[in-house]
Amino acid sequence: MLKYDVTVIGGGPSGLSAALSADRANAKTLLIEREASLGGILKQCIHDGFGLLRFGEKLSGPEYVYRDIKAVYETDIDVSLLTFVTKTEKTDDGFILHLVNRDGVTSVFTKTIVLCTGCRERTAKQVKIHGTRPAGVFTAGQAQNLVNLHGLMVTKKCVILGSGDIGLIMARRLTLEGAEVMGVYEIKSEPSGLSRNIAQCLNDFDIPLHLSTTVKRVYGHDRLEAVEVAKVDEKMNIIPGTEEIIPCDALILSVGLIPENEIAEDLGVTLDRFTKGPHTDNSFMTDVEGIFAAGNCLHVNDLVDYVSENGALAGKAAAEYVKKERKYAKITIDRTLGYIVPQEIDLTTDLSKVEMYFRSFSTVKNAVLEIKIDGNPFMEKKYMVVRPPEMEKLVLDLSSAGLTENSVISFGIVKKEGDING
């Protein structure tokens, strides 16, 4: 049986970075990808805007990921394409992974695993839309895959539900390819995507954005013929009498992403109820020793640059992993934060540069992030604005914070005092 120090599951941006950094730390590394080529979702994200933080350049998705793919093939990393992990087993000193690929059924032993399984789109079944089940209801990623990788046009006239970035990007993409996008409908009172995507994907093409409006019902037998939209109140209940029928042949859904953690759950990894990803420490190790997680399976990021960075940290940590007694400090958030990653601090690690990611629960202008240790103020950070769609990254020096086992580091967002313009 082949033996590895680190096995990375998933060949998207986080997996590529994790494998590269594990290899740089001299670990014998295996990278497993279920598709025929590396690159993950970026293969179909042909629009530009990736890499500004990491490379200082505005690259398209395939260009961004090509740099890491090329780097991986220049190393001794074993790459296994068209490979599925079908079963996992924990042993005393690591894990046995059962794989299926073109060579048949095989098994490998690995000391550590880095989960880089990404996220999946929420589908029509997960949002309450009534009516028939005609063809023509796509998730934005599905439509993007068909158009950008297979050259298949999915619609002539469509409605987009949800203002997530992929939905906005697809509104522009379908318009460029000659479709008529009737509008983007968002149930919330503010858009979920980045402001620049509202500007360059909708406003540039005069595509209307309808806030506090949702799709109530779909019509059509074999193919979608129309959708019924309606306004909602503050509690997101449909306001009777505001219904409107919009004829169209496709409904594109951009209604959220959920971290994919089937393998993690199989391995007994505990998931965080806020991120829906594994509960990890500051080395991005889960509560199962030797299993690490990075990228969008850990929490849904909005920039790939952070995904790559996070993958590199997890890959290095996996390569340097040794079994030992650990002591933890806890991290807690109040209702003002949507989530925070990681959820625990391993006090036996270097605490001088602890990387954390968080999202606010609601939009707050002139916000102050307050960090307390066992109830005592430790640090404050000011933000002009924090918004749920925009992830914030923090690098903390906790080495002289006096953390002891079972210390509690709490995070909360407050509005700056004295500000009334808000």
Partner: protein
């Protein structure tokens, strides 16, 4: 004349206030130099990058992604799309290679953004 706009240079998406007073254009609300440049060009001659795909003759890979190598005037987006849609690639070109040189005389090439045609699976 005062115009408010969202800067599209980076994910921060600053809300810019661009004011024109005769020849002079002042930009406020930006948090970097690139935002100022964007505000000025956006008012006088808005420029955009476009990304799309071109068809190939190969049965294994039906389309490959492309983009323009430099920004083009916003008003030329659809004419450039028409040119891109005329292409039928018969050579297995690699990332960065030109598919259309100097498209419509706009001083921008249409280039491949993927190396997929050169990959062996």
């Amino acid at each position: 004349m005062v115009k408010e706009m969202t800067c599209i240079v980076c994910p921060n998406g600053c809300l810019l206030r661009v004011e024109q007073d005769g020849e002079e254009i002042t930009v406020t609300g930006n948090t970097c130099k690139r935002g100022e440049t964007f505000g000025k060009t956006e008012l006088t001659n808005p420029m955009r990058t476009i990304c799309s795909t071109v068809r190939t003759v190969f049965s294994d890979i039906e389309v490959v992604p492309v983009r323009v190598s430099a920004e083009i005037p916003k008003g030329m987006i659809f004419p450039v799309m028409e040119e891109i849609n005329k292409v039928r690639l018969s050579e297995r070109l690699g990332i960065g290679e030109k598919v259309i040189e100097n498209v419509l005389g706009l001083n921008a090439d249409v280039i491949l953004t993927s190396n997929i045609l050169k990959e062996e699976v």
